[in-house]
């Protein structure tokens, strides 16, 4: 396991940011999801070694998160969410500079900077001043500086924000290439569920400082919920109340499609029985594939 934490607790004063997070992340791309305030940033801060947990233990690539912070940062590439650069520099100098600060010899860092800038698609503009870069170029530059020292794990915070659709596809291609072909594990924190769904093989969903769901995407889809989509004619309120009394979660879309999240122990025949009890006609009934959006909504308990 490349990242392993056990019973992590952390508080900001009286506010509990993490309340006993335990997880084990293996190879490949992992999505870190959660609503605002769920504890994603705090968890990343702890994994990067900036915060020391109040309680609990953790290891990143076998390095203790309390003691071996420098070793962890040496092995990690971090791409922050916000725009960040050093004024007055060009992309090659910038990328080489951070490679050198990671511990690369100066000449090697410069050579490697050229390589990664070509890789992220900034080869032609690598001598241009960063002050003149567009938002999309800065996003790729951040990926380049995170890759320059060839880390074993990449932490990507909202990697596709500020990108147009074409740029987003290209950056996702890069991340997919890195995580699948290059033996680099990627931990992506993002609010764009479609991005996570297209890249990640596993997800960790945090909610209120705790792990709400964790595992491989296909397992979570299969095990956690059975999702049914239906359309009805009749007293929807009574039908809904009856289903909720059986432990189902109900969402109704704008076009009156009813989504029923059936708990693992539930039986789909219960839906038919409920319809019969409440005098509702079922006009449409489909077992749906649980999307990440559905999974997220189910785990976090929001629409």
């Amino acid at each position: 396991m490349s990242i392993e934490v056990h019973d992590l607790h952390f508080r900001y004063g009286k506010i509990v940011a993490l309340g006993g997070v335990t997880m084990r992340l293996g190879e490949g791309a992992v999505g870190l999801l959660g609503p605002n305030g769920a504890g994603k940033s705090t968890l990343l801060r702890i994994l990067l070694g900036f915060l020391v947990p109040d309680r609990g233990e953790g290891k990143v690539l076998g390095h203790d998160i309390r003691r071996d912070q420098a070793l962890i940062r040496r092995a990690i590439g971090y791409m922050p969410e916000s725009d960040c650069f050093v004024a007055g520099m060009d992309a090659v100098t910038f990328t080489a500079y951070f490679g050198e600060l990671s511990g690369m010899p100066r000449q090697e860092a410069m050579k490697r900077a050229h390589e990664v800038l070509f890789y992220v698609g900034l080869g032609e503009s690598r001598y241009r001043l960063l002050d003149q870069y567009s938002a999309g170029m800065k996003q790729r530059l951040k990926l380049a500086q995170a890759l320059v020292h060839d880390p074993r794990i990449l932490f990507l915070d909202e990697p596709t924000s500020n990108l147009d659709p074409h740029g987003r596809v290209e950056v996702l291609d890069l991340i997919r290439d890195i995580s699948t072909n290059k033996d680099i594990q990627v931990l992506i924190s993002s609010h764009i569920l479609a991005d996570i769904e297209s890249i990640c093989s596993s997800v960790v969903i945090l909610n209120k400082g705790q792990v709400a769901a964790e595992g491989r995407m296909e397992n979570l889809r299969a095990v956690r919920y059975s999702l049914y989509e239906l359309r009805i004619k009749g007293d929807g309120e009574a039908f809904r109340a009856d289903l909720e009394s059986m432990g189902c979660r109900i969402d109704v879309t704008e076009d009156r499609l009813i989504k029923v999240y059936m708990p693992p122990e539930g039986d789909r025949m219960d839906i038919f029985r409920s319809a019969s009890r409440t005098g509702v006609q079922l006009r449409y009934f489909v077992k749906s594939r649980t999307s990440l959006e559905d999974l997220f909504a189910g785990a976090v308990g929001v629409d």
Partner: protein, 291 residues
Amino acid sequence: MAATVRAKGYAHWDGRLVERRFPWWPITRTGIQLAFRKKRFKFAFAISFVPAFVMLAGLYVSERLEDFQSFLRGSDRLIKITPDYFKVYLTNDSLLFLIVLVLAFAGSGLVADDLKHSSLQLYFARPLRKRDYLLGKMSVVAFFVLILTALPGIALLAFKLIFAGSFKFFLDHPWLPLAILGYSALLTVFFAFTVLLLSSLSKNSRYVVILIFVGFFFSSILHGILYGIFRKPALALFSVPANLQQTGAFLFGQKLPYAFPAGWSFLVLAAVCALSAFVLHRKIRSVEVIK
């Protein structure tokens, strides 16, 4: 772009990351290089050597007397070179102004630009500690202060010996190199802390330039006003240049310009440095790596 990505591909780096003895050195080197990319800085830096050349000319005139006989009127020397001559170079107002000018251009953005462009998170995502970051930035200031103080000071002393053709001056004042280096070190430490402090107070380096000038010269104006009202020498403790002159005179073994112990000035300067270190410690936080 996609073609470029597919054509080049991602390749692992087969080198080995090293643990540097001075992890702050790349920050210092880059800070110095970035300063020299500014045109206004290059101009300020060039003119800041004018006082050193004037003093060098004075040394030449003093020692190569035979070339300047026509200027003498009854005196055996046109300029008498004593340790005070070196103290005057290092503590005169024009050099202090030029140091502040150079630091305004080279040092104002050291932290301010990192705050403005959120690059602290990139630094601290590397195996760098806060002290490495601050040391790297302070060393940029130290480089420019030393190049304007210790380097010309020692060079002037060397030229004095070369022009005189003997070591007599050095043998008469063997402590002089130490005084030059000691005072240069004092200026370096003081400016390193204060310039970094001022640079961390704003995200806009132009405001920091104003803060640097106001910080160093407003204190003299305040001293002038207070002295005009109360006529007490100890009020010079409010003035940064006055405190520097007082400590300089002490280190060079000269008469103190103000009637209070030099130790008080040392304490004032040390207190300013301690306050700067405290504020910097609070302002520069590695935890800001993720907002």
